[in-house]
């Protein structure tokens, strides 16, 4: 097994040349990334929006981020992905804009959740 490459450098190009594999290279860097990806796909499959709609939302989120961070530092793709999904769901009226913040706060207040920045 090859060890996982660290991903601290912003432009760490060419360090991972992966031979074709059937069973799982690391495509998500954290479990939440996989879940947010899967949620977006599942809701698309379920007909809540088309993938083009989602892509448009994603392009808008990425463009906004790129404009605000010309040096590209600190980019986390799945944070943009999540922001796009949230925007789309709020636009579709599936939940109110503040509902997610409320739910997040509720989860953060769980007894064992010692959240840190």
């Amino acid at each position: 097994m090859a060890s996982q490459k660290s991903s601290d450098a912003r432009l760490q190009l060419g360090t991972e040349v992966a031979p074709p594999t059937e069973n799982g290279e690391l495509v998500f860097e954290a479990p939440w990334e996989a879940r947010i990806f899967a949620m977006a796909h599942h809701l698309c499959d379920a007909g809540l929006y088309s993938w083009d709609d989602f892509r448009d939302a994603l392009i808008a989120e990425i463009a906004q981020w790129d404009a605000a961070h010309p040096a590209g530092e600190g980019y986390v793709y799945y944070e943009r992905f999540q922001a796009a999904l949230e925007a789309l769901l709020v636009n579709r009226g599936l939940f109110a804009a503040g509902a997610l913040e409320a739910e997040t706060a509720k989860l953060a207040a769980r007894p064992h959740g010692h959240d840190h920045p």
Binding site: A18, P20, E33, W51, Y75, T104, A108
Partner: protein, 209 residues
């Protein structure tokens, strides 16, 4: 199969917590079935990979008629091998661009992360990064050099931007020393990076045939 493993990794921080909250909200509204989410993760995280792309490339190298069909209509030629798009129609219009002595091709999505999932799995991290998205268009030779790929100045370098409705696959050059190789042997030589265009297919190591 249990899926209530949300809490026992680490303390969820910012984005992880927000993702969890989103999932909880969607569950509450009956919009989400956690088992379905697990299925999607399994499909994309494990089962779909660059192997399909390598299969297409190996077939094109060994079957001239297939190669021509592939270059004429990538979507149809991939479908011949049973490779069809998933959600999002990432295979609706597949264009295969062929490397050769006079031209090298490289693929990007400048606006987001469009990529032929059905052929290559999910894109690697660098493909989605702002640095690659912006730089490969402006200074492709320099970016490829950072990947360890020097494209000679006399060779044309074409950058294909996936952000329209089109997905691109690079058909790399077949390396020397692979005469008589079976499709399976050839497939094993083709890395994902070669099908994006940031690497070449290396000659096989040692005696294989």
């Amino acid at each position: 199969m249990s899926h209530d493993h949300d809490h026992d990794h680490e303390t969820p921080s910012g984005p992880a917590l927000r993702a969890e909250a989103l999932e909880a909200l969607l569950l509450e509204k009956g919009l989400l079935d956690p088992a379905e989410v697990d299925t999607v993760i399994a499909n994309y995280g494990e089962r779909v990979g660059p192997l399909n792309g390598a299969r297409v490339v190996a077939r094109a190298w060994t079957d001239e008629a297939y190669r021509q069909r592939l270059l004429a209509d990538g979507t149809a030629a991939a479908a011949e091998l049973g490779i069809v798009g998933g959600p999002g129609g990432q295979m609706e219009r597949l264009v295969v661009v062929e490397n050769g002595p006079a031209v090298h091709n490289v693929v990007v999505c400048t606006l987001c992360s469009c990529y032929p999932w059905a052929l290559l799995g999910l894109p690697p991290r660098w493909y989605k990064d702002p640095a690659y998205r912006s730089r490969v268009v402006r200074e492709p030779r320099a970016v490829l050099r950072e990947f360890g790929l020097e494209v000679p100045a006399e060779k044309a370098l074409k950058v294909w931007d996936s952000s329209a409705e089109v997905r691109y696959l690079v058909l790399p050059e077949r390396p020397e020393g692979t005469q008589g190789f079976s499709e399976e042997q050839l497939m094993a030589l083709v890395p994902r990076e070669a099908m994006i265009g940031v690497a070449l297919v290396s000659e096989p190591q040692g005696e294989a045939a």
